[in-house]
Amino acid sequence: METTATTHLPSDYLPILIQFAAALGFVIFAIVVTHLIGPKRHSKVKDAAWECGVESVGNARTPVSYKYFMTAILFVIFDVEVIFLYPWAVNFRGLGMEGFIQMIVFMTMLMLGFYYVIKKGILKWE
C-alpha cells in the first residue's frame, strides 16, 4: 500500500519498531555478555541481599501505608482526565468556542473534586 503524508498506517511504525528492537537487543546483549565474560566469585557475604550495607533484619513484606494507595488512585483519575485532553487539543481549532466551553465544564467538575481532595488533606503527608 502506498503511504503518503495524509494516510497513517500501521506500517508507518516500522522505524519505531526497529528502534525498539535495537534497544531491546542491546540490553539483552549487554546482560548476556557481561555474565559470560565477567569473573564470578561467590561467598556468603557477597551473596547477601545488601552486600555492603546494614545487615537486613526482619521481614521485607510489611504492609505499606495506605497513603501511597490513595495518591495512586487520585493519580489514575487525573491521568485519565489528561488523556481526554489530548483528542480535544488536536481538534481545538475545529471545535471552536463550543468545544472550549465543553472542556471547561469537564475540567470544572474535576477541579472541584481536586479542591475537595486538597481540603480534606488527602495529599498531606503529616
Binding site: 467538575m109 472541584l112 473534586g113 479542591y115 475537595y116 481540603k119 480534606k120
Partner: protein, 483 residues
C-alpha cells in the same frame, strides 16, 4: 447537542449541581443540617422541573429519551431518594462518623439511576450503571467501624465489577453482530433477521448476568443478604428500591424498544429466573432470624413477582410493573425506615428479638411496620395487594398459567414469615425496658413524618388505587405506542 436538551435534562443537571455544591460545602465546613437541607431542596426542585416535562416525548439522539416511561421512573426514583434522605437524618445524627459525604454519594447514586432509566444507548447505560455502582460501593461500606460493613462493601465491589464485565462482554457481542449500540437500531436490525443469531443470543445472555445482578434475582442473588445486612439501613432501603427499580426500568425499555419479547428463548430464560427467584426468595426467608436478611430474601421474591408482569410483555404488563414498583418502593422504604428508626449507635436493629413486644413499647412504629409487612405479604387494603392483583391479572391475561400458579403458591409461603415477624411484635414481653436514648423530637421529626406519609400512601393506594392507575396510564400513553 442543542440548548433544548438542557431543558429536558434539567432534573439530572440539578442533581449534579447539588452534588458539587454539597462537596464544596463539605470541603469548607462540615455541617450536617446544611447538607441535609441542600439535599432535600435539590430533590424537590428536581421533582418540580420534572413535573414541567410531563406529557412530553423528547429524544436526545442517540443516548437519551424522555418519554412517559422515563418520566415515571425519574419521578419514582427522585421521590424515593427524597424519602431515603428524610429517613437518613435521624439515623446518621446519632453516629459519630462523618455524615456529610453520605448525602453527596446518595445524590450521585440517584443520578446514576436516573441516567439508567432514560438511556437508550449502551454507552449511556453503562456510564449510568457505573455511577450508580461506584457510589454504592462507598455507601455500603459507609459506617467503617461496623463489624460487617467492610465485608458487605468488598462483596458488592467484587461481584458488581464482575457482573459489569459480563454486561460489557455481552454488549460487545451485540455490537459485533448488529453494528450499533442504540436500542431502537438494535430493534431495526432484529426486524431484518428472521431468527435470532446465536452470537446475539449469547450477547443478550451475558447481558442478563449484569442486569440480573443489579436486580438481585436468582441465580445472581447471593450478594443480597450479606450486603443488606452489612449496609446502613437507609442505604439498604436505597439498594432495595432505587438500584433495582432503575435496572427494571432499563430492562423494560430495552425489551420494548428492541422488541425482544418475541423471542421464545429469552422469554424462557426469564421465566426460569422468575420462578427460581420466587421460590428461592420465599423458601430461604422462612427460617431467617435477621430482619434485614429476611427483607433481602423477600425482595428477591418480589423481583420474581415483578418479572411475571414483565414477561406478559404487553401494555397491561408494563402497567402492572409500574404499579407494583410504586407499591414495592413504598413498602420497602417503610420497612427499612422502621429498621433505621429502631437502630442505635452500635448496630442496626436487625434481630427478630429487637422486635419482640415492640407494639407495647412503640405502638405507632409497630403499627407502621405491621402495615408494611402486610403489604409485602399482599393482604387486602394495602398497596401490595392491589399490585399483586394487577400482576396476576397480567399473567392470566397472557395465559402464563405456570407463572400465575407459582405466584399464588409463593404468596402463601411468604405469608408465613411476614406473620411471624408481626406475631413477634405483638408478643407480650416480661420486662419492658427502653434501652435506647431518645433523640430530640425535632431531630426525629423528619423520620417520623416520612414514615407517617409512607403509611398513609400505602393505605390510600390500597383502598383507592384508581388515581395511581390513571396516573400511570397517562404517563405510559407516550411510551409503547406500538402495542
Amino acid at each position: 447537542m442543542r440548548l433544548s436538551d438542557l431543558y429536558f435534562l434539567m432534573p439530572l443537571l440539578i442533581l449534579v449541581g447539588a452534588a458539587t455544591l454539597n462537596m464544596l460545602v463539605v470541603a469548607v465546613k462540615r455541617n450536617h443540617k446544611v447538607i441535609f437541607g441542600i439535599t432535600i431542596v435539590a430533590h424537590l426542585v428536581a421533582v418540580f422541573t420534572l413535573l414541567q416535562l410531563n406529557g412530553s416525548s423528547y429524544q436526545i439522539p442517540p443516548f437519551f429519551v424522555m418519554d412517559g416511561w422515563g418520566i415515571f421512573n425519574l419521578g419514582l426514583i427522585l421521590l424515593t431518594s427524597l424519602f431515603v434522605t428524610l429517613l437518613s437524618y435521624a439515623y446518621f445524627e446519632q453516629r459519630e462518623e462523618r455524615k456529610e459525604e453520605y448525602y453527596l454519594l446518595l445524590i450521585l447514586a440517584t443520578l446514576g439511576a436516573c441516567v439508567l432509566v432514560i438511556s437508550q444507548h449502551f454507552m449511556a447505560l453503562f456510564l449510568g450503571l457505573e455511577i450508580l455502582s461506584v457510589a454504592l460501593y462507598s455507601l455500603i461500606a459507609y459506617l467503617r467501624t461496623r463489624e460487617r460493613s467492610d465485608e458487605a462493601g468488598i462483596k458488592y465491589l467484587i461481584l458488581a465489577a464482575l457482573s459489569s464485565a459480563f454486561l460489557l462482554f455481552g454488549m460487545a457481542l451485540v455490537y459485533a453482530v448488529t453494528g450499533t449500540m442504540s436500542f431502537p437500531e438494535i430493534g431495526v436490525y432484529l426486524q431484518s433477521v428472521s431468527e435470532l443469531p446465536l452470537l446475539l443470543l449469547t450477547g443478550f445472555g451475558l447481558m442478563i448476568v449484569g442486569i440480573g445482578f443489579k436486580l438481585g434475582i436468582v441465580p445472581f442473588h447471593m450478594w443480597a443478604p450479606d450486603v443488606y445486612e452489612g449496609a446502613p439501613a437507609p442505604v439498604t432501603a436505597f439498594i432495595a428500591t432505587v438500584s433495582k427499580g432503575g435496572m427494571m426500568g432499563l430492562l423494560i425499555r430495552f425489551f420494548s424498544q428492541a422488541d425482544a419479547y418475541r423471542y421464545a428463548n429469552l422469554m424462557l430464560i426469564f421465566t426460569i429466573i422468575a420462578i427460581a427467584s420466587m421460590l428461592a426468595g420465599n423458601l430461604l426467608a422462612l427460617r431467617q432470624k435477621n430482619i434485614k436478611r429476611l427483607l433481602a430474601y423477600s425482595s428477591i421474591a418480589h423481583l420474581g413477582y415483578i418479572l411475571v408482569a414483565f414477561l406478559a410483555g404487553n401494555r397491561l404488563g408494563v402497567e402492572a410493573v409500574s404499579f407494583y414498583l410504586v407499591a414495592y418502593f413504598i413498602t420497602s422504604l417503610g420497612a427499612f425506615g422502621v429498621v433505621a428508626l429502631l437502630s442505635d449507635t452500635e448496630r442496626d436493629a436487625d434481630q427478630l428479638e429487637d422486635y419482640r413486644g415492640l407494639f407495647w413499647r412503640r405502638p405507632a412504629t409497630a403499627a407502621v411496620f405491621t402495615a408494611m409487612l402486610l403489604s409485602l405479604a399482599g393482604i387486602p387494603l394495602t398497596a401490595g395487594f392491589v399490585g399483586k392483583f394487577y400482576i396476576l391479572a397480567s399473567g392470566v391475561n397472557t395465559q402464563q398459567w405456570l407463572l400465575v400458579l407459582m405466584l399464588v403458591l409463593n404468596s402463601v409461603i411468604g405469608l408465613y414469615y411476614y406473620i411471624k415477624v408481626i406475631a413477634a411484635m405483638f408478643a407480650q414481653t416480661k420486662s419492658v425496658q427502653e434501652r435506647r436514648k431518645v433523640l430530640h423530637p425535632a431531630l426525629s421529626f423528619a423520620s417520623g413524618g416520612a414514615m407517617a406519609i409512607l403509611g398513609l400512601l400505602l393505605i390510600w393506594i390500597g383502598v383507592y388505587p384508581t388515581s395511581l392507575v390513571q396516573l400511570i396510564r397517562g404517563l405510559l400513553a407516550t411510551f409503547m405506542t406500538t402495542f
